[in-house]
């Protein structure tokens, strides 16, 4: 009975809170990433507008969004989802449409939002907030010399030792093609042809016996630290953390980095639509996006934010060079083509899994 009382009180409190207009619920990923959003977006937003932000976390925010909208009981106002999910949810009619220039703020110099964001930052229903990247990284204490290109990753004669790769077709095939000398700009065009796919698998064949496959983002830094692999693909934020916060002798090779976006979206039927739109507009302003980079090494999706990126929270590490979006890192960068993968994931994953098992 007591439990029931507590529960009902909690529920009543919850509905009461939801009924107040001056709050907005944001669903994100938890961890260090959520912290960066709380510090850079939520606190200043609450200060300047008086609207409270409730932060909630999910393993993948796209899953509850789908369930909530389909059940007609939406409690989330803004969600942070991966780009491929932003496209999928939008296709299925579960998100509010978004018009970049009407719904987002212009850059400080007046450049409209639609031109100020990096290519690929918009879908019909969402806008990118950060750019993260899958990069090649190596352990400087285990590798003789210094690899500089993605081709070196596939050259075990020149740089002997095991390699870490993510156990999925998505991501791996792009690296294989770039390793075979295909420039970033042509990767998806090639991967759309049978010859291109064969070429990617031929490149992977070269190192098949030397690969340790990873699944979770936490694995590559561990494999590198153990010396189990000498080079690995990894999420740049994880390598940054190992390098700067834990002092590991890791180095990122930005050549052939594979960039991807996280998106802000508003579910259809969000309870506080106006506040949600205000939050989305505020959080994606130039200053807020630049400020977020102080907490985690994921790059702002706005071009005008890049020059404003400052120091890491330790106060001595310049964040600029660690950003996937830093101009010197963008030399041969590839943006993950979510539309391509929506079309070809089934077929390429089947072939990839068959290749792995064979």
């Amino acid at each position: 009975m007591k439990k029931l009382l507590i529960l009902s009180t909690a529920l009543a409190g919850f509905t009461a809170a939801a009924a107040q207009a001056e709050s907005v619920t944001v669903l994100s990923w938890g961890g260090a990433y959520e912290k960066s959003q709380v510090e850079a977006y939520n606190k200043p937003f609450a200060e300047s507008t008086g609207i409270d932000v409730n932060m909630e976390a999910a393993d993948n925010p796209a899953t509850p969004i789908k369930a909530q909208v389909e059940a007609g009981n939406v409690s989330v106002d803004v969600a942070d989802v991966e780009k491929s999910d932003a496209i999928r949810l939008c296709d299925e009619g579960l998100l509010e449409p978004l018009d970049p220039d009407a719904d987002l703020a212009a850059a400080p110099d007046g450049t409209p939002a639609s031109e100020d964001f990096i290519d690929g930052s918009f879908t019909d229903c969402g806008v990118a907030n950060i750019v993260w990247s899958t990069v090649m990284a190596y352990n400087t204490s285990k590798v003789d010399g210094s690899p500089t290109t993605i081709a070196d990753f596939f050259d075990t004669a020149k740089y002997p030792g095991k390699r870490g790769l993510r156990k999925s077709a998505k991501g791996t095939l792009e690296f294989a093609l770039m390793g075979a000398g295909v420039p970033a700009a042509d990767v998806y065009k090639e991967l759309g042809t049978p010859e291109g796919v064969d070429k990617a698998f031929a490149e992977l064949d070269k190192i098949k016996g030397d690969v340790v496959w990873w699944d979770a983002g936490a694995q590559p830094p561990q494999l590198l630290a153990d010396g189990e692999v000498v080079m690995s693909t990894a999420y740049n934020g994880r390598i940054f953390n190992a390098e700067v916060a834990e002092g590991q002798p890791f180095k990122i090779v930005w050549d052939g980095q594979l960039m991807d976006f996280d998106f802000f979206v508003i579910p259809k039927g969000a309870p506080h639509m106006d506040a949600a739109k205000a939050y989305l507009k505020f959080a994606t302003e130039t200053a807020q996006l630049a400020n977020q980079a102080k907490w985690i090494s994921y790059g702002p999706a706005r071009k005008s934010s890049a020059p404003m990126v400052g120091m890491y929270q330790d106060g001595k590490t310049e964040m600029g060079p660690h950003m996937p979006t830093a101009p010197e890192n963008m030399g041969n960068a590839l943006v993950n083509d979510s539309e391509f993968w929506a079309d070809h994931d089934t077929e390429l994953s089947e072939r990839f899994n068959a290749w792995l098992a064979g």
């Binding site: 939008c90 009619g93 156990k167 089934t346 068959a354 098992a357």
Partner: protein
């Protein structure tokens, strides 16, 4: 003899009811009470087990994400046989559906369903639906103007087959088969065939793990059963301690021990058994999967064996020995047959658990230590092709049931002792 020919007189209770009826009445009450007592458990099993499994089986043959969004095409397919040319009327139906899809934003859902069958067609739906409002007759020309891809006869075959919500296509896919454009069932290209390999490998690895568990558990269980209680209890804790430890902790401990820069390899290099460049690969392959899973599943073999061995009186073996049997004969003909219920139970438990194992092979299996469960997880979580995941899982379930039936025929399920 004379009793048997007599008309039997009906027995009655004191209040005149026939005895049979009275008995049935009082038993009915007892039955009702018994039913009410098991009702919570029955409901629980129904809700958490029967319904989900039923849903899963249903999902593997039912997928309406195309048929419900393309009613006009469904009608066209119903009216025209497979041989009918894809003419203007077909494209008109397509245009009607695309307009409807755009209005309801369902083009992604419908396209995804077709994309399972014919890769690369999802964007055909989304990009054409985007321009659907501007479509005007002649529709064939207008649609082909937007994208030539709509000409593909295989695409029309796939749409025809998806226009019924009930389909066996997902079972075909789960058996490495597909349909060609004339609707014949054919094997998929060798570069894409995978599930057959994985089903075989899952069965084979599970068998190896079961046999290893049996070989390792038998002496342990025997020792536990024959030691005095105080000592065997202490040993039992050693068996149970890993059982109580988190699965992830045990799996990662094996990684630390077995990886190339791991403890075991370091020791062997230090002892000079292998050279520094010749470190053994014992992790991220089949070996890793077998070692880690054998360790994790060992208690499931030890416990039923132990409980059976405890009940075998040592006097039987002593009697055999005193009658002149060698120790091997006494073991083979007297002791071993009595442990069979435990071996059967343990083997069944370990085998069924390892057939469905998922997290350990995912972590330590590398490329060639993956099992079918990893593919099911892949389709549940990443490709979101739940129908295919359901078909794979149903096949796995069917396989396990067949094995169970075989076991029942060969050993007899009554002979199983789970502890």
């Amino acid at each position: 003899m004379s009793d048997a020919t007599m008309e039997p007189t009906e027995l009655r209770t004191a209040d005149g009811l026939p005895l049979k009826k009275a008995l049935a009445k009082s038993q009915a009450r007892a039955k009702r009470r018994a039913f009410l007592l098991v009702a919570p458990l029955f409901l629980f099993v129904l809700i958490t087990f029967v319904v989900p499994i039923g849903q899963m089986l249903f999902q593997s043959v039912y997928n309406d994400s195309f048929s419900k969004n393309a009613p006009a095409l469904g009608q066209w397919f119903a009216e025209h046989p497979l041989e009918a040319p894809i003419d203007e009327s077909a494209f008109a139906a397509l245009a009607t559906d695309l307009k409807e899809m755009k209005a309801n934003r369902t083009q992604g859902e419908a396209g995804t369903r077709i994309n399972y069958d014919v890769p690369g067609t999802r964007s055909l739906f989304t990009s054409t639906a985007r321009k659907a409002d501007k479509l005007e007759p002649p529709y064939k020309e207008a649609i082909l103007d937007i994208n030539k891809g709509w000409e593909d006869p295989n695409l029309w075959r796939a749409m025809r087959s998806a226009s019924h919500p009930y389909t066996i296509d997902f079972y075909l896919a789960a058996l490495d088969m597909t349909r060609d454009q004339d609707n014949n069932i054919v094997s998929v290209d060798k570069t894409r065939s995978i599930y057959g390999t994985l089903f075989t490998r899952t069965a084979l690895l599970s068998l190896i793990i079961t046999v290893l568990c049996m070989l390792l558990a038998f002496p342990i269980a025997h020792l536990l059963a024959s030691l005095p209680l105080a000592k065997s209890n202490l040993l039992m804790i050693f068996v149970l301690l890993p059982f109580w430890t988190s699965l992830l902790v045990r799996t990662t401990s094996w990684m630390v021990l077995l990886q190339q820069q791991g403890v075991l390899n370091d020791i062997m290099v230090w002892l000079g058994i292998v050279s520094d460049n010749g470190r053994l690969e014992m992790m991220y392959n089949k070996t890793g999967t077998i070692v880690a899973m054998t360790h994790i599943l060992l208690p499931f073999m030890v416990l039923p064996l132990y409980s059976v061995m405890r009940t075998i009186p040592p006097s039987y073996v002593r009697a055999a020995r005193s009658l002149g049997a060698t120790s091997w004969t006494a073991f083979r003909r007297i002791y071993l047959p009595q442990t069979l219920p435990g071996i059967g139970a343990g083997a069944l438990l370990v085998f069924i658990l390892s057939v469905g194992y998922y997290i350990t092979p995912a972590l330590v299996g590398g490329a060639d230590g993956q099992l079918i469960s990893n593919m099911i997880a892949f389709h549940m979580q990443k490709s979101l092709n739940w129908s295919l995941a359901a078909a794979l899982a149903s096949l796995l379930l069917g396989g396990v049931l067949v094995l169970y039936w075989l076991y029942d025929r060969l050993v007899g399920i009554d002979n199983m002792k789970l502890g």
